[in-house]
């Protein structure tokens, strides 16, 4: 059994890496797209087999309760995004916004990105985690600059500078953690392995840990898009191709937040270190309020949903900052729901931008009338992301708000004001987009197949609204206790 687990784990890394190399050689777009979808499906199957049999972790790679559902989520969303990207990029090629020459390494970079994210999640070694996230950042920088328009270049350049700065701070934090672990566990690989660190965390030097957590929170926080460090996120989403926005919003933010949570586990294991809660609560609320206010002035549809990602990352960080079994459970659930819903929204937005030929919100009107599938898909997505039942985000918001109000009424009020602000703005935009009279020229809607990924995601979120599978709940509860 263990062999099957080990092979599945290695497959998770080997398949994307191999596909990336193969795709570098392949020049034709159509075959590239098919291979891309095939590789993503293969890694999804590998991830699912991990559910059944869990391999023994070694010093480099390890699968435990925390990252197993994130791996599955990552590969599922990557697979659906690859299906969406096939039709999206084909359309872009047809309209000439992208030339085959630009797309030369698109699929190779896509698979490399999957490899980097799987590596980051599987990594048992904090250094390896850092390298994986650095690799993911570099690849997404190139992807964002794909359109080579002036705005895309400027967005990529900004993303590169801020991303690298964040990564550098994170590296410094990682080194500090190693230095704190080294006297207790000894030199070499064990001093950087999660399971070892977690066992000995109590004996680490608290001052070093505190300093390390500050650098790590700022470093990986930049990648997670928390407010003072969020500047790259809206431009990267708006200028990059939509599949990459979906990957960025759905997965990369989660991976960065996963890294922060790993280190939060260490901090909560060490009693003398300062509690990480208030720091994360502060950043979370700041992101929530800032994004709430920034919605009202947005003119570009993808930038609008980028700010919605910042808002939800704020809510998730707030939930983990509050701590306690209920809030942690809600945070983990919210991470899953957010990535599924946000990627579904970006699928819809991708098609809308192509169909209406523009990303300006003021010119996109009456979607439910002109393209019923797309229009109602967007309405369902926005209703889900706004936290309304029957979708899953409602359950996590329900738990966060009610458990917070019982413990810290003041914080809960700020949270509720932030939620209401965000809700009001998002709805205002949705009403403009989905309803009313449409007077701009409308190209024919997408084929149902390409609308399939969006529908699949919304269906999953809909089911999660009132029923969660048993094993998933036990994993969440176990990790919630671990997170402290």
């Amino acid at each position: 059994m263990n062999a099957l687990g080990l092979s599945a784990m290695t497959a998770l890394l080997a398949v994307p890496a191999g596909a990336a190399l193969l795709l570098v050689l392949l020049s034709s777009y159509r075959w590239g797209a098919r291979l891309n979808v095939g590789a993503a499906l293969l890694s999804l199957l590998a991830a699912v087999t991990l559910f059944g049999v869990r391999p023994e972790g070694n010093l480099y790679l390890r699968v435990d309760d925390f990252n197993i559902y994130l791996i599955a989520l990552n590969n599922l969303v990557s697979f659906t995004t690859s299906v969406f990207s096939a039709s999206y990029i084909a359309h872009e090629l047809a309209t000439g916004r992208l030339t085959p020459q630009y797309l030369r390494f698109y699929h190779a970079m896509y698979q490399a990105l999957l490899f980097a994210m799987n590596l980051a999640l599987l990594a048992n070694n904090i250094g390896l985690l850092w390298v994986a996230i650095e690799l993911a950042t570099l690849i997404t920088v190139l992807m964002v600059g794909l359109y080579r328009t002036r705005a895309a270049l400027e967005a990529a350049w900004k993303y590169f500078i801020l991303g690298s700065l964040g990564i550098a701070l994170a590296l410094f934090g990682t080194i500090l953690v190693y230095l704190a672990a080294q006297p207790v566990i000894g030199e070499g690989l064990p001093a950087m392995a999660w399971d070892q660190l977690l066992i000995h965390a109590a004996a680490f030097d608290p001052a070093l840990l505190n300093l390390a957590f500050v650098f790590l929170l700022l470093g990986y926080g930049t990648k997670a898009g928390l407010v003072p460090l969020h500047a790259w996120l809206p431009d990267a989403h708006a200028e990059g191709p939509t599949p990459i926005s979906a990957i960025l919003s759905g997965l990369l933010l989660n991976v960065a937040l996963y890294a922060v949570l790993r280190f939060k586990m260490l901090m909560s294991a060490n009693p003398h270190a300062l509690a990480p809660g208030p720091l994360m609560v502060g950043l979370g609320l700041l992101s929530l309020l800032f994004a709430g206010f920034m919605f009202y002035r947005r003119g570009d549809i993808k930038r609008l949903f980028a700010y919605s990602s910042i808002e939800h990352m704020g809510i998730i960080t707030f939930a983990f900052g509050m701590g306690g079994p209920l809030a942690n459970f809600a945070g983990l659930l919210h991470m899953t729901m957010h990535s599924l819903t946000k990627s579904a929204i970006f699928f819809a937005v991708g098609h809308i931008a192509q169909v209406k030929g523009t990303q300006r919100i003021s010119t996109i009107r009456g979607l439910t009338a002109t393209h019923p599938w797309l229009g109602w898909g967007l309405v369902a997505g926005v209703i889900a992301i706004a936290g309304m039942p029957p979708f899953g985000v409602f359950m996590s918001e329900f738990l966060v708000v009610s458990s917070t109000f019982a413990r810290q009424p003041g914080l809960a009020l700020v949270l509720v004001i932030g939620l209401l602000l965000g809700f009001g703005a998002l709805l205002w935009r949705l009403h403009g987009l989905a309803f009313g009279e449409s007077h701009s020229a409308n190209a024919p809607g997408p084929t149902p197949i390409s609308a399939l990924p969006m529908m699949a995601h919304l269906a999953l979120v809909f089911i999660a609204g009132f029923w969660l599978p048993g094993p998933l709940v036990t994993w969440f509860q176990h990790v919630a206790v671990l997170l402290g």
Partner: protein, 669 residues
């Protein structure tokens, strides 16, 4: 109990079916007959439960919060509100069988209508915080979709937006209230909440949050702004449900949290607050209604008045319970619950009547209607009964609940608190004032719409509506009359509900009274017999008619109306909605709405018509909502500059954050 839950699921199934087959011809008839059948079955089940009053039935399902499951419970309170919900639903579906044919975009109405009904049923049945709020929001969501059915007009889009934002505000308030009730460990099911003890301070905060949450959905005054925009925007049978029934589900939410979950009574001055809010809502609601000339908006604003009357009853009940006067509290609760039933009856009747007028003439604006009593006599008769009932005229049901509320107010001198000694008579005066103004409002509504001469060609060629609509209208009219004549039966029906909410204290049984009289406290104190009043009036009216026609003359001939010398007075010379309300606007409006009239007369010899402009300000919108919206926009513009900084400035943001944290670290030691 599983039976009722499966029926709600059946409603959802009908919704899903409608989603797929909305375009096909017979679909609307099939959907509405399905909802009619289902709601009648649920109605009869709930009625049976209320009358036999067995022990509460519960049901737990593995859905909802993973470790809690979804709890459902049917006790006396839920049974009564199930009756109110499904009675309205059945009649609206019956009406929609005829009315639904004229819907241009059935695919936007049919799927959401059964979902809306299912949502309301589930709210009333829910027995834990998650399921309650889940179905509450689901109800708001489906009704929002119905409000957006005619999304072509931009006014409807704005109404839909305002509605959903206020719904979210209400839900978040309720969520905070449940957070307090459940405590940090998260004991969300109502059984543990009832068992747990909430400290007086927390109970007060929970009541305020429940008031905000349920008040915003029901339409209490400061939170009512969305109601007159959203309710008219939906198709008529849905507006009838939203005004008549959904506001009652909001009242149910308030009663469930405050009277059932909070256990021991709240401090007395909280009852005073509810009382004051109820009074203000009553008067402001009817004054707003008087100023409208759109029939559906008038009815929607009038819902605010009736909700005010209900909350006056609830406020009285709270004050009595706070002072352990449980007998008086029973009377106040009975008055409030009776008015809940009454309002759902006559408000649905009036909205459905407006729907009939809308299909016949395509007009909602009273300035372009008139003289509809000739082409649509039956609709006019039903609307007249509804108007008389809502104006609290004796033989009908509106008067009985108003009478009970007055009797409850007359019991307030025993309250020891001084503030209440001044508040109770003031609220009594407000209630009396709002009752009189309601009569004026519905004389205007009925008179301008149905009587006089048609003011537009559309009103002239109106035709009577179809059989289904008329049968729905007359069922409601008959129920209004029955509830007015046999109030004793309804009060006895409400007894178990009042007992549940009032720690067992109920009103004396009414069926023992002779001649079916209603004597809530004692025979001597006050009694009212609707049946005899109706009999006397019918007797004396018929007697007079027969005697005069037999003894005196029965001759009658038609002639021109008195025109004071002007040859052919055009229909425009008739009184319009605006002119009818002009005296009351001058008396009340100039104070409340800063109503200013400006008449511009053309110089003599100039053929142009004179012009009368009336400018009014909505005090609640200008004082409450406009400043908030302006503040949000102002802050967001200031924040917006952060989107256009240079990369260097973003770096300095990160740098600043790092230095700040490091300083904090260094100094924190």
């Amino acid at each position: 109990m599983p039976f009722l839950f499966s029926l709600s699921m059946a409603l959802l199934a009908v919704g899903v079916y409608a989603m797929t087959a909305a375009r096909r011809a017979g679909c609307s008839r099939r959907v509405y007959s399905a909802t009619l059948a289902l709601s009648t079955v649920v109605l009869s089940a709930a009625l049976a439960h209320l009358l036999t009053a067995p022990a509460p039935a519960t049901l737990t399902l593995p859905i909802g919060l993973p470790w809690l499951g979804a709890h459902f419970r049917l006790d006396a309170l839920s049974a009564f509100f199930l009756i109110v919900v499904n009675l309205g639903a059945a009649v609206a579906s019956l009406f929609a069988l005829g009315y639904g044919q004229h819907e241009q975009a059935p695919e936007r109405v049919l799927p959401f209508y059964p979902a809306f009904l299912a949502g309301m049923n589930l709210v009333v049945l829910a027995d834990d915080a998650f399921t309650f709020l889940f179905s509450w929001e689901f109800m708001s969501l489906s009704s929002w979709a119905l409000v957006m059915a005619h999304h072509r007009e931009s006014a409807n889009v704005r109404a839909g937006y305002l509605y959903l934002v206020m719904a979210c505000f209400g839900t978040l308030a309720l969520l905070l209230a449940f957070g307090l009730l459940a405590g940090p460990q998260g004991g969300y099911d109502f059984a543990t909440i009832r068992a747990g003890q909430t400290s007086p301070g927390l109970a007060a905060v929970v009541l305020l949050l429940a008031l905000l949450g349920a008040g915003s959905k029901a339409g209490l005054v400061p939170l009512h702004v969305w109601l007159p925009l959203a309710h008219p925007a939906a198709p008529s049978h849905v507006s009838a449900l939203m005004s008549g029934v959904m506001t009652k589900v909001a009242v149910y939410g308030f009663i469930r949290i405050v009277f059932d979950l909070l256990g021991e009574p709240v401090a007395w001055w909280w009852g005073g607050l509810v009382l004051a809010l109820g009074g203000i809502s009553a008067v402001l609601g009817v004054l707003y209604a008087l100023m409208q000339h759109d029939l559906k908006r008038l009815l929607a604003y009038h819902t605010v008045e009736n909700i005010g009357i209900i909350f006056i009853g609830l406020g009285l009940a709270l004050t009595f319970q706070a002072n352990q006067m449980y007998a008086s509290a029973a009377l106040a609760l009975t008055a409030a619950l009776f008015h809940v039933l009454n309002h759902s009856l006559f408000k649905s009747l009036l909205f459905l009547g407006t729907g009939a007028v809308l299909t016949a003439t395509g007009e909602r604006d009273m300035e372009r209607l008139g003289g509809l009593i000739h082409p649509m006599p039956w609709t006019a008769l039903a609307f007249l009964i509804g108007a008389a009932a809502i104006s609290a005229l004796p033989p009908l049901n509106g008067f009985v609940s108003e009478w009970l509320t007055f009797q409850a107010i007359l019991l307030t001198p025993e309250l020891p608190q001084w503030l209440l000694k001044f508040l109770a008579p003031a609220v009594g005066a407000l209630l009396a004032l709002s009752a009189a103004l309601a009569a004026a409002c519905f004389v205007k509504a009925f008179g301008i719409t149905f009587l006089g001469r048609p003011r537009s060609p559309a009103a002239a060629q109106a035709r009577e509506t179809d059989r289904y609509s008329l049968s729905a209208l007359f069922i409601l009219a008959a129920l209004c009359l029955l509830a007015g004549i046999l109030p004793g039966l309804v009060v006895d029906g409400l007894a178990p509900v009042v007992g549940l909410l009032n720690g067992g204290a109920q009103l004396t049984a009414q069926h023992s009274q002779p001649w079916l009289t209603l004597a809530p406290v004692t025979e001597v104190k006050s009694s009212y017999n609707g049946l005899l009043v109706l009999l006397f009036m019918a007797l004396s009216g018929v007697l007079a008619a027969v005697l005069i026609h037999r003894l005196a003359s029965a001759a009658a001939r038609r002639g021109p109306a008195w025109d004071c010398g002007f040859p052919d007075a055009s229909p425009m010379t008739q009184y319009t909605a605006g002119s009818f309300a002009q005296p009351i606007r001058r008396v009340f409006g100039s104070v409340v709405f800063q109503a200013r009239e400006r008449v511009t007369m053309p110089p003599p010899g100039d053929g142009r018509p004179a012009k009368l402009e009336v400018k009014m300000r909505d005090p609640v919108w200008d004082a409450g909502y406009a400043p908030i919206a302006a503040a949000v926009i102002a802050v967001s513009t200031r924040f917006n500059h952060l989107q256009y900084l240079t990369i260097r400035r973003y770096l300095s943001l990160v740098f600043g954050a790092l230095v700040l944290l490091l300083l904090g670290m260094a100094l924190w030691r």
